[in-house]
């Protein structure tokens, strides 16, 4: 465990040093500011309420889970793997007395921590903006719902990250991984619209699954189904990704 911890800290520090985190914070902040400006414009211009203070974080979430969150996650996931392949950093990492499984897990955990951090930043900023600029509609239940939505959004993001990690282990080049990821993301999104009856099978449609948790009559079976599908995806991607990572020679 101590070895794993050391590997994890090592990975986190590497990520932190690369300023990717600052970029993530900056983009998240920009999205919230732009979103808030649109809402304020809509309110003064058209007289529509747009959103109340509680709904604003949900609105932000609904936008970012389909746009910048997957994008930033892809960037970080690719950074953790592909750029180390090309920098030959991986050799250095692998010469340490740590098993490949632990390194792989440490890298994945780092990505998860990054997603968690990014969600938290979005949550905190949007909540703040919501309270500062929007009509007060806050209730304890509303606050709880926001926390819940942001928390459950972590799960599909992790699955998505594992998918990208898997891709990163197939292609060595970071740029091609990035493009394949984006292309795949768009294809899956379009597929979900075209074949709407099968949309629940596409990993990209699970990104919106926090909506289910907000439903007034709690849809147990749907949430269970989606959880199982994501778990299935997650296990497959993790195993396949690790298999490739383990077999690779540097």
């Amino acid at each position: 465990m101590a070895v794993f911890q050391a590997a994890l800290i090592n990975e986190i520090e590497k990520l932190y040093k690369k300023k990717k985190v600052m970029v993530a914070i900056f983009i998240s902040l920009a999205v919230i500011v732009v979103g808030q400006l649109i809402i304020v414009g809509m309110r003064t211009g058209f007289g529509l309420r747009g959103v109340g203070s509680v709904e604003f974080p949900i609105l932000v979430l609904s936008v970012v889970v389909n746009t910048i969150l997957p994008l930033l996650t892809a960037l970080v996931a690719i950074d953790c793997f592909s750029s180390e392949f090309s920098n030959n950093m991986m050799r250095v990492t692998l010469t340490r007395p740590v098993s490949r499984f632990k390194i792989f897990t440490a890298k994945v955990t780092t990505i998860v921590i990054f997603i968690l951090f990014n969600l938290f930043v979005l949550f905190a900023f949007s909540l703040l903006a919501g309270f500062l600029f929007n009509a007060n509609s806050a209730t304890v239940a509303g606050f709880f719902k926001i926390v819940l939505s942001y928390s459950v959004s972590l799960i599909p993001m992790i699955v998505l990250a594992l998918g990208i990690v898997f891709l990163a282990n197939i292609f060595k080049n970071g740029t091609s991984v990035f493009f394949v990821s984006i292309l795949g993301f768009l294809i899956l999104k379009a597929g979900a619209v075209l074949f709407s009856q099968y949309s629940s099978l596409f990993i990209t449609s699970q990104l919106d699954w926090y909506n289910l948790w907000l439903a007034s009559s709690f849809p147990f079976s749907r949430i269970g189904h989606q959880l199982l599908i994501m778990l299935g995806y997650g296990i497959m991607f993790f195993t396949a990704g690790y298999y490739l990572f383990d077999k690779k020679e540097y």
């Binding site: 709904e55 949309s199 298999y243």
Partner: protein, 412 residues
């Protein structure tokens, strides 16, 4: 050690694949609440248009402002497909507080309409063997499938919010509700904006919403019986907004549709003894084609006016003389005549002969003619059977003179 690791990986991958495949299969096989709702609608529409002998449909609508009824309507239609009869009773309460009732009855031979203001029954005898199609299945119409696909895409992930409760007797209760948090922001904004246009303060009885407008809740509930027929459907939407004084208005829209007395509805012809009755015979049904176009043969005219010293003055007349007309062609002459005081306008006067073929509908003909200056102009002729007039439209700029393209018959 190496082998063991591989085995573990294989097992773990298989578990993942198995989890995914079994859930996915279950997902595809089982019908979602949204699909069941759609099936209910389709089955109902199909049975209503083809299978059921008779049924009663009751549709009520109500708009409330802070719990106070703004307007409402209630329609009861009894349809007997077996005997080809139907009657409907409707009641409407408008925004101004007016109450309006109406009653209609129809069968193969007669159509009866009751007018509330005059308390009179208008009985129209049908001469043509018209078959009042009681109910057309909207899912059989052209393009229905495309509309359905678009709807599916729009509904998107919202369809997960449709819940199904199956009762032991085989009936199903389908319900769904969306709070403001779940209604996609874009849909909420667009519909709020639309409703803001409705409640714009032009009608004094309606609240004038100016700010903080949003859709608060949308919910629906439907009951499908064991035969797959939708027995009732209730839809509710709540909109919230503030007026200029900052007072909050909560507007609720409710629609309730009920289907009852399936195969058990009796349509009764109203008893008219002792009632005020106006008898009438149906005008011959004007089909898509004119039966006897010869009736349009003759002279048609309309007036040419100008505006002079704040008054309209007639300066002349335009004439269309149809000299020969049959199923396929129309032959005649167009000319203008000006009064002696206004001879100066005669300079722009036109005169030409035409010989045009009818379009497929046998009411319309188009042709081109060349003016003296050598320009070609399009002319459209339309025979208006309802008004007994000819629409003769010359595609040109009329300048200062005023006229229209409707020509009335000249009778001696």
């Amino acid at each position: 050690m190496k082998l063991k690791k591989k085995t573990v990986m294989l097992i773990s991958f298989s578990i993942g694949a198995l989890l995914f495949a079994s859930t996915a299969l279950a997902d595809i096989v089982s019908k979602s609440g949204y699909e069941q709702l759609k099936d209910g609608l389709k089955t109902t529409a199909e049975k209503c248009s083809e299978e059921l002998d008779s049924f009663t449909i009751d549709i009520s609508m109500e708009v409330k402002n802070n719990g106070e009824t703004l307007m409402s309507s209630n329609d009861v239609s009894k349809i007997d497909r077996d005997n080809n009869t139907q009657e409907s009773l409707s009641n409407q309460k408008s925004i101004n507080g007016d109450n309006y009732n109406s009653y209609n009855y129809s069968d193969d031979k007669v159509r009866i309409r009751w007018n509330e203001d005059q308390d009179t029954y208008y009985v129209t005898e049908l001469i043509s063997e018209s078959s009042p199609t009681n109910f057309v299945n909207p899912f059989d119409e052209q393009g229905a499938e495309d509309v359905e696909r678009i709807m599916d895409a729009v509904v998107g992930s919202l369809k997960d919010h449709v819940m199904v409760k199956e009762n032991p007797d085989g009936s199903k209760e389908i319900s769904g509700s969306l709070s403001e948090m779940q209604i996609p922001a874009l849909i909420n904004a667009v519909s709020s904006f639309q409703l803001k246009q409705e409640f714009n303060g032009r009608q004094s009885a309606l609240p004038h919403l100016t700010q903080d407008i949003f859709v608060k809740e949308v919910s629906g509930k439907s009951l499908i019986n064991s035969d797959g027929l939708m027995e009732s459907m209730l839809g509710t939407a709540i909109l919230s907004g503030k007026d200029k004084q900052g007072q909050t208005h909560e507007l609720s829209f409710e629609v309730l549709m009920k289907m009852s007395d399936i195969n058990n509805t009796e349509v009764m012809k109203p008893d008219l003894t002792g009632k005020k009755v106006v008898n009438d015979v149906e005008r011959p049904g004007y089909g898509p084609e004119i039966n006897n176009p010869e009736k349009f043969q003759g002279l048609f005219k309309n007036d040419i006016l100008i505006e002079k010293d704040g008054k309209y003055v007639k300066i002349g007349e335009r004439f269309v003389e149809i000299t020969n007309i049959d199923d396929s062609s129309i032959v005649g002459r167009y000319y203008e005549e000006y009064r002696t005081d206004y001879e100066q306008y005669a300079a722009i006067s036109q005169e030409f002969k035409f010989d045009a073929n009818f379009e497929n509908d046998k009411r319309q003909a188009n042709f081109e003619y060349s003016t003296e200056a050598g320009n070609t102009t399009n002319v459209n002729i339309y025979l208006d059977e309802y008004l007994g007039k000819v629409n003769f439209h010359i595609n040109q700029d009329s300048g200062n003179v005023l006229y229209d393209s409707m020509f009335s018959r000249v009778f001696d």
